[in-house]
Amino acid sequence: MTELSKSGSALGEPVKDSPAPTAFLEVRDLKVHFPTDDGLVKSVDGLSFSLEKGKTLGIVGESGSGKSVTSLGIMGLHTTGQYGKRKAQISGEIWLDGTELLTADPDHVRKLRGREMAMIFQDPLSALHPYYTIGHQIVEAYRIHHDVDKKTARRRAIEMLDRVGIPQPDKRVDGYPHEFSGGMRQRAMIAMSLVNNPELLIADEPTTALDVTVQAQILDLIRDLQKEFGSAVIIITHDLGVVAELSDDLLVMYGGRCVERGPAEKVFYEPRHPYTWGLLGSMPRLDREQQERLIPVKGSPPSLINIPSGCAFNPRCPYADVPKDNVTRTVRPELTEVGSQHWAACHMTQEQRERIWTEEIAPKL
């Protein structure tokens, strides 16, 4: 458990306007908005967190919660948004190892991409270029940041393919993505993202497109590689099982905002936000006795153009009327500390939440 308590320090609430963060990665009040014809899509709307080297942060949320947009924002990849021709409006601060990325020279950020921070994508088939061999793509990734000849880079590529468990790497290095199976492709993708020993690895739904037995292999691989390389890892997923496997800390996103964040154990065992309760109640679990019924969250995720006023979760929250004066519908709740290194954004009092969790929710899970 020492590991967990140490990880807690990574979650210090960032102090606004202090220019020198101590954490390896620190995101402060990040906003990513996309102007569209229908209105402003507030994909990420004020997100703050920090992460230390060697630690894994899990970001959990449903589609449209802003989790992928956050990762692309950190990587500086919002050059053309998926919402059309207009550029994304990004504000806030992203500090990576002492450099603020949003105000830095774009070419400097480009040099950090791939070397300091790398990314694994959900679907390796579409994320790898279909016309180039796996080896070519890895060599390219290596030679952008290392001034070596092709032969050395190729040796490095083979070495990486071997490390991620691809059999006969000296042959497969000349294979094309379509000649690889889904699992092998994701391994190659991981090899490519780790070829420069990045300090920060962002894995965006790295196993969602894979079968469950292959998913187990890949999760195992990511865990081993992290131990070996000591990078900071952000794992983005909708699957609470996957984050429970890998993460030290957990951040639950809803409607572009963080609703709860803390050490993984805390968030799983003492969740303090009704949305987290909803997620936990929605999943059938193999490790428990058969539940009679699942406890779903009513309604659908919010539109990012018209985020509900007050607490974004209030239309779906069964406890929206617990706090007085309709405050859940008018005032946006701030993250407040609900335990050691554990924050939640909810208007209910600590006592109310503890009581509801222990008496109403936990027994039914």
């Binding site: 699992g183 079968d211 469950v212 292999q217 936990l280 490790d287």
Partner: protein, 408 residues
């Protein structure tokens, strides 16, 4: 490939089904088949997709998507079908709903052979067997209002429900939890979960007996998945429906199913009632599959040692491995597994398995003890707790029902 042993297995399973149908199903049942009676029977079902090449389109091989499977579905129960991509589970679903023509084998519905019925012969059948699809985005025609979509089955079948189509459609909408006033809206005005509800309403329109759902929730968000799972549950209770639910998510399948079939490369490797399957799986593949599911519990991470990591990927269904198809990845495989295909046998009441060396049961080929080289490599990925003889002994002793090595 011989299906004879499996034929025998089916008859035994018919006599002794471990999991009965849900009790509530009987109360409101208005169908012909009484609960517990066989509604659907599948024998030796095969579907080979030919691979053609060259100018003359010569057949050079076949994707053996479904390669000889037998099972029964009883009225009022839910049969879950799990497996990884390429195991043939979706093809199986399309075969039993006759959306695909089987290469061999028979499909009997209420005792009637429907395998080779033509379009007109199938029409009355289509009322009784309905399908729900995975993708709620592409399975609804964007140019039709949901009133038209849900009412279409009535028009196709030439049926006019009591009170008219519109009234019936509105009733169906409220049954699946949608606002009946949204009758005139178009699919794009609904969220993913709502669209899946529309798909369900359409499937229910003609009061079917059997609903085949292919990955009904996998395209939906977690919180929405639970809504749809609960809805399917409620509808079964109220309408006495029989489900075949095809899914890759083992937790969802366990939640919804009474009995579960595990498929691997076009074959059923294990078919058992839910409790037996999840507490004491017999097929090594079932065991590996279940241990691979990530558990949403950070404290369990310490218990990583229980995880069985399978080597490599699922082989191609074009040229599946000889003998037992799982032998290339199995840590228990011996010589016999490469040569003789294990029949699907009922080794315990309500639990059929196709394996020479099952877990939690008597070894079917005890004389064959020498592990294959591949199996020796595979065994390194299997935690000691699973492999050790002690565990096997214990499992055998407890095979009667108690879970041998629950990880709690």
């Amino acid at each position: 490939m011989s299906e004879k042993p499996e034929d025998a297995a089916v008859t035994t399973s018919a006599q002794s089904d471990g999991a009965g149908p849900k009790p509530a199903a009987g109360t409101t049942l208005t169908k012909d088949a009484a609960p517990g009676e066989t509604l659907l029977k599948v024998t030796g079902l095969q579907k080979h997709f030919p691979i053609r090449k060259g100018l003359l389109q010569r057949q050079v091989g076949a994707v053996r998507a479904v390669d000889g499977i037998d099972f029964e579905v009883k009225s009022g129960e839910t049969l879950g079908v799990v497996g990884e991509s390429g195991c043939g589970k979706s093809t199986m679903g399309r075969l039993i709903t006759r959306l695909l023509e089987p290469t061999a084998g028979t499909v009997e519905f209420e005792g009637r052979d429907i395998t080779h019925l033509g379009v007109s012969g199938m029409r009355p059948m289509r009322r009784d067997v309905q399908m729900i699809f995975q993708d709620p985005y592409s399975s609804l025609n964007p140019r039709h209002t949901i009133g038209t979509i849900i009412g279409a089955p009535f028009k196709l079948q030439g049926v006019t429900p009591e009170g008219g189509i519109k009234k019936e459609v509105q009733r169906l909408l409220s049954v699946v939890g949608l606002n009946p006033e949204h009758y005139n809206r178009y699919p794009h005005e609904f969220s993913g979960g709502q669209r899946q509800r529309i798909g369900i309403a359409r499937a229910l329109a003609l009061n079917p007996k059997l609903v085949v759902a292919d990955e009904p929730v996998s395209a939906l968000d977690v919180s929405i998945q639970a809504q749809v799972v609960n809805l399917l549950d409620d509808l079964q209770q109220e309408l006495g429906l029989t489900y075949v639910i095809i899914a890759h998510d083992l937790s969802v399948v366990r939640h919804v199913s009474d009995r579960i079939a595990v498929m691997y490369l076009g074959k059923i490797v294990e078919l058992a009632d839910r409790e037996s399957l999840y507490k004491a799986p017999m097929h090594p593949y079932t065991k590996a599959l279940m241990s691979a599911v990530p558990i949403p519990d950070p404290r369990r991470r310490a218990a990583k040692s229980e995880r069985i990591l399978l080597k490599g990927d699922v082989p191609s269904p074009i040229s599946p491995p000889s003998g037992c198809r799982f032998h290339t990845r199995c840590w228990k495989a011996t010589e016999i597994c490469t040569t003789k295909e294990p029949p699907l046998l009922e080794l315990k009441p309500g639990q059929q398995v196709a394996c020479h060396h099952p877990e939690n049961a008597e070894d079917q080929a005890p004389q064959d003890t020498v592990l294959l080289t591949a199996a020796k490599e595979a065994v390194e990925l299997v935690p000691d707790a699973v492999v050790s003889a002690d565990a096997a002994q214990k499992a055998r002793a407890e095979a009667t029902g108690e879970e041998p090595e629950d990880a709690k």
